[in-house]
């Protein structure tokens, strides 16, 4: 079975079980999804659809996502209500479409804030090294031991439930991954000859970091950021599902799933379709992430 699922790029080994360890990705990171051009395009199409929802929701759904209609409560999927209605008679589809924008905003904001902070910590630590680097990285190790969602949970639990606080919590949970990856990259870049060459030309350390180290660290940062937008959206949805999101007034997929919980036995569509959207998002993001990583791998130029 290992032979059939081994990625195409991996050399076939006498020890199929270990093939991944020497031949590229470790066994536990084996791609379990069917890959290739089709999957990649499906993923891109799905993400494009979500982006469309976020940018021009009016184009995809008619009516207001908050229009309550008690007469039409708990209707199953039909021609009129594509994905059915919830307990207040709101169209699940419309709610999904209008939920994309806040989700995307959270994803982008968290990636920007957390990514920049994490990258800065990682690059500075990796380039300068020494004592401070050690201390910060041990702290990062501790944070990395907890899953991102858990980390966000800890912070959100201590804060008033507002959108900025939610973004803050998720951003914090984003920092360690960026710090770790970018530190590794900066360490590697630091040892390259052109850094020495700049040093013997008498370029200041600060200038070396800005002009030579940072630009050479961009590739992995971009890949990580692309993946992280999706991850942050899912974390936000999870927090909302647990009732730890912004308390009122924000349309959210996680909250939508939670609201359908009580009706799941009969009126399954309220929870299932938003859940499906989030699940597909995760899959699409990981396909794109794999693809980006492969495309930007230094070995392939």
């Amino acid at each position: 079975m290992d032979n059939t699922t081994a990625p195409a790029g991996t050399a076939t080994s006498v020890l199929p079980l270990l093939a991944g360890r020497w031949g590229g990705r470790p066994v536990w990171r084996r791609r379990w999804l069917p890959r290739g051009r089709l999957m990649r395009w499906l993923a891109i199409a799905f993400l494009a659809l979500l982006a469309g929802w976020a940018l021009v929701p009016g184009l995809f759904a008619s009516g207001s996502p908050t229009a309550v209609n008690p007469v039409a409560a708990l209707l199953g999927p039909s021609g009129h209500y594509l994905l059915g209605t919830d307990q207040y008679g709101r169209s699940v589809y419309t709610e999904l479409v209008y939920g994309a924008r806040p989700a995307l905003e959270v994803g982008l904001a968290c990636t920007l804030i957390g990514g920049l902070t994490g990258s800065a910590v990682g690059i500075i630590g990796g380039y300068l090294g020494g004592w401070a680097d050690m201390a910060v990285m041990r702290l990062i190790d501790i944070l990395l031991a907890l899953p991102g969602l858990f980390l966000a949970l800890i912070f959100i639990a201590a804060l008033p439930r507002t959108v900025p606080n939610e973004i803050l919590a998720i951003s914090i949970s984003t920092v360690p991954i960026f710090a770790r990856v970018l530190r590794g990259q900066a360490l590697q870049v630091r040892s390259l000859l052109f850094i020495d060459a700049a040093t013997v030309t008498g370029v200041r350390r600060r200038a070396i970091v800005w002009r030579h180290v940072v630009p050479n660290c961009m590739a992995p940062a971009v890949v990580l950021a692309a993946v992280n937008i999706g991850v942050a959206i899912v974390v936000a949805a999870s927090l909302n599902f647990l009732g730890l999101g912004p308390s009122e007034g924000v349309l959210d997929w996680g909250a939508l799933i939670a609201s359908g919980q009580n009706y799941i036995n009969q009126d399954w569509w309220i929870s299932v379709f938003p859940g499906l959207t989030v699940a597909l998002l995760v899959i699409a993001v990981s396909i794109i992430g794999d693809w980006l990583r492969d495309a930007m791998e230094p070995s392939s130029g």
Binding site: L193, A197, T199, V200, T201, G202, V203, A207, P215, N216
Partner: protein, 360 residues
């Protein structure tokens, strides 16, 4: 040149690292001078400590973590090893330039060539980026880059290795330094480009009085370029001699091996190219006595116990108990494989006239 004040003066340079129990020395007791306008070649096999010595001079080993540098490096009378980083930065580029073995790796792959030259020119010139455009073009044409305007807009991977090395030389010259440290500048280049780069360095020396510390393992390059030759073996200097003298009368069996391992087109007769058997000892297990004795066909008992000091031998210095014999013998024994044969026997043994030239 002898009585001039040296531009660069290295004394008792040692570079080592702390291993589990003991300190391992990679470079030891290295002392030499470079006079203004002089080209000094540092030669030796891979792993002999040439590159480390060059890097130590510009203080590149300061942040290397485990490497410890001791001894003195004086440039124009100022001590570099104890100088604060801030002050050293002012000397780097302005007074000492450096070029590297792998020119493609010494340029930042994501920065346009012109911007990299500008980085040096801006720092070392007026400080205004806009005003340096002309200076960048001037520097680039000075080192023989055609179409500098076009090249300046390209990325390092778009230009050839020889072109990269020219760009590096342009960068190194931006601050008009008095000393250029060239760490195997032509090793990665093909022979015609190598000749051009070497010619460029000679020209710069003639026009600007540039001193060059040229690190190389290519005896041909050393013969062509050097005023003086320093031979390193296993981290120590084993011979220092003016070039003509070095090639005519090497004072150390190792030097002799290096000299005779050079293939010559003008050799009077075909001969088998000699090779020095064995390899340089690992820094961890340097043999007692003379570090070269396990490979030396002239070794005596004393060589295995007493390390010879670098003492005057003819016009130069040599670290060998038998340097007078090595220098004085007109009928020089040559290295041939593992055998030690004289020229008379070599004359009869013409079989290997087409011996392949390897690295010395």
């Amino acid at each position: 040149m002898g009585n001039e004040e040296p531009l660069l003066s290295v004394r008792d340079l040692a570079i080592g690292y702390q291993a589990a129990r003991r300190e391992v020395l990679l470079v030891r007791d290295v002392s030499f001078d470079v006079a203004p306008g002089e080209i000094v070649c540092l030669v030796g096999e891979s792993g002999s400590g040439k590159t480390l010595t060059g890097r130590a001079v510009v203080g590149l080993l300061r942040h290397s973590g485990r490497l410890r540098v001791s001894g003195s490096v004086a440039f124009g009378g100022r001590e570099l090893t104890t100088m604060p980083e801030r002050e050293l930065r002012r000397i780097r580029g302005r007074e000492i330039g450096m070029i590297f073995q792998d020119p493609a790796a010494a340029l930042d792959p994501v920065v346009r060539v012109g911007d990299q030259v500008a980085e040096a020119a801006v720092r070392l010139g007026s400080g205004r980026r806009r005003a340096e455009r002309g200076r960048v073009i001037e520097l680039m044409s000075q080192v023989g880059i055609n179409d500098p305007e076009v090249r300046a807009r390209q990325f390092p991977h778009e230009i050839s290795g020889g072109m990269c090395q020219r760009v590096l030389i342009a960068i190194a010259l931006a601050g008009d330094p008095g000393l250029l440290i060239a760490d195997e500048p032509t090793t990665a280049l093909d022979v015609t480009i190598q000749a051009q780069v070497l010619h460029l360095l000679s020209e710069l020396r003639r026009e600007k009085g540039l001193s060059v510390l040229l690190i190389t393992h290519d005896m041909g390059v050393a013969a062509q370029m050097a005023d003086r030759i320093l031979v390193m073996y296993a981290g120590s200097l084993v011979e220092v001699a003016p070039t003509a003298e070095f090639f005519a009368h090497p004072g150390h069996p190792y030097s002799l091996g290096l000299v005779q391992a050079v293939p010559r087109v003008d050799a009077a007769r075909a001969r088998r190219l000699p090779a020095i058997p064995g390899t340089v000892p690992e820094p961890g297990d340097r043999p007692p006595g003379c570090p070269f004795h396990p490979r030396c066909p002239l070794r005596l008992d004393v060589c295995q116990t007493d390390e010879p000091a670098l003492l005057p031998a003819g016009p130069g210095l040599a670290a060998c108990h038998r340097s007078d014999e090595v220098r004085g013998d007109a009928r020089l024994p040559i290295w041939a494989g593992t055998a030690w044969v004289d020229t008379a026997r070599a004359e009869t043994a013409r079989a290997g006239s087409a011996a392949a030239a390897g690295q010395p």
